[in-house]
Every structure is written in structure tokens, then in C-alpha cells.
Amino acid sequence: MSTQLLIIIDAETSKPKASTYLFEAIDAAMGVAAFGVTTSILFMGDCVKSAVGDDRIKIINALEFYDVENLYIFESDLDRVFDTLPLLGSQFKVLKDNEFSNLLEQHAQVLRMG
């Protein structure tokens, strides 16, 4: 059974080179997933805007081909960043804040990037 890894991405889009950090974090997810690690990604904070907004990172659509199938975002982050809720791709699962600890428990390893 492969190890479950959760990568938490919380690159603040206002910081310099934020998009570089965001891409590198997504690269890391694809990279380790390619070696058989079951990988999920949690987008936190205002980087959800890049992940699901009008300027959605196109590479997110390719993640399922790298076996990164579980993408998570918090409902509170969506509410904070968007005036109206964006249309989410089916690969995104929206979590309530109190589901964070359960999400962490489901994964043997957690890495934070961004």
C-alpha cells in the first residue's frame, strides 16, 4: 500500500514570486505522485484564487493524470477570496474548517509548501 501524502500549499499571491512557489509546490506533488506516493493537495489562503478562479492554473487540470486526484480547499477561504462562489472542477472537495484535523489524520505524511 502506498504512503498517503498531503501537500499543503499556502503561497500568498501578494508576495513576490508567489506564482513560482505555487508551481514548484504543484510540481512536487506531481513528482512524488509519479513515484507511487498517493498524494493529495490542500490549497489554503488566498492561493485558492489561482487554483480555482478565472486565472485557474491550467496544470491543475492535468493533476489527475499524475494520480493526484484529491484536491481540497476550505469553504472559509472560498468565501473570503471570492465575492461569489466560483464553479469548481469535480476534483475539488470543499472542507469545513473543523474537518482539517480529520484530513491530517488521513495522511501518513504532511508537507507544507508555498
Binding site: 502506498s2 504512503t3 501524502l5 513560482t20 512557489y21 514548484e24 510540481d27 512536487a28 513528482g31 512524488v32 509519479a34 513515484f35 507511487g36 506516493v37 501518513a108 505524511q109 504532511v110 508537507l111 507544507r112 509548501m113
Partner: protein
Amino acid sequence: MNISTFAIVVHGSAKTCESHQSAQNFISAAKKLGHSIDSVFFYGNATSITIQSSRVCTVQKNWLKLSKQFQIPLQACISNAINRGAVDSQHAEETGKAVNLMDGFTLEGLGALAESIHNECRIIEFGA
């Protein structure tokens, strides 16, 4: 006491944050208690530590000392390092640039990190 095997992941530039020093302190403390360190993996801005300069900084010296003392591989993400100006021998052949990778560090793909995860090491991260 249970003995654990740790894999260390370091983010952040050594010039702007203390993640490297914290990681080094952790490794020294863990080794004193008898734990094992599988590897150190540098990611993102942390990969700049691999670049040789005219003045070797204390943080670099301490990494090399720890690596030699405890036989710990110092691995940096190859794509991140190259994006930040590191040149190993293979990249030097391809581009004609001079090698500037400090001896003691290696540039690796994410497979190296995946291997630590598969080996059930406890991953400890030191972030920016």
C-alpha cells in the same frame, strides 16, 4: 525510547530565515539521542545553499560538517536548484557553464524525496 528515522526537508533561503540553523540543531539533537537521519532534502529557495561562492558561509560549513560526521546525504531538488543558478557537471556539459555546485551536495529529482516517504521515514520540515 523508540528510535526513529527522520528525513529532513528544508525550505527557505539561509540568508533570510533560520530554517537551516533549526534543521541543523534538530539533527544534532536527534543524533545525540540515537535517532537516524535518512537524508536532508532542500527545496525551493533552500536549494541556493548548494552554490559555491567565494565566501563559504557558516550555514554551508555546518551542513557539510554534519553530512560528513553522520554520513547524511545532502540532496537538493534539481529543478529548483538549476532555476536558482546551480550548475552541476551534467548541466555544465549541456550548457557550457562552469560547475558551481559545492562538493558534498547533490542535485536529485523528486524521486529522492519519494524514496524517503516510501521508506517510512518521519518527515520533519523546516520552513521559511
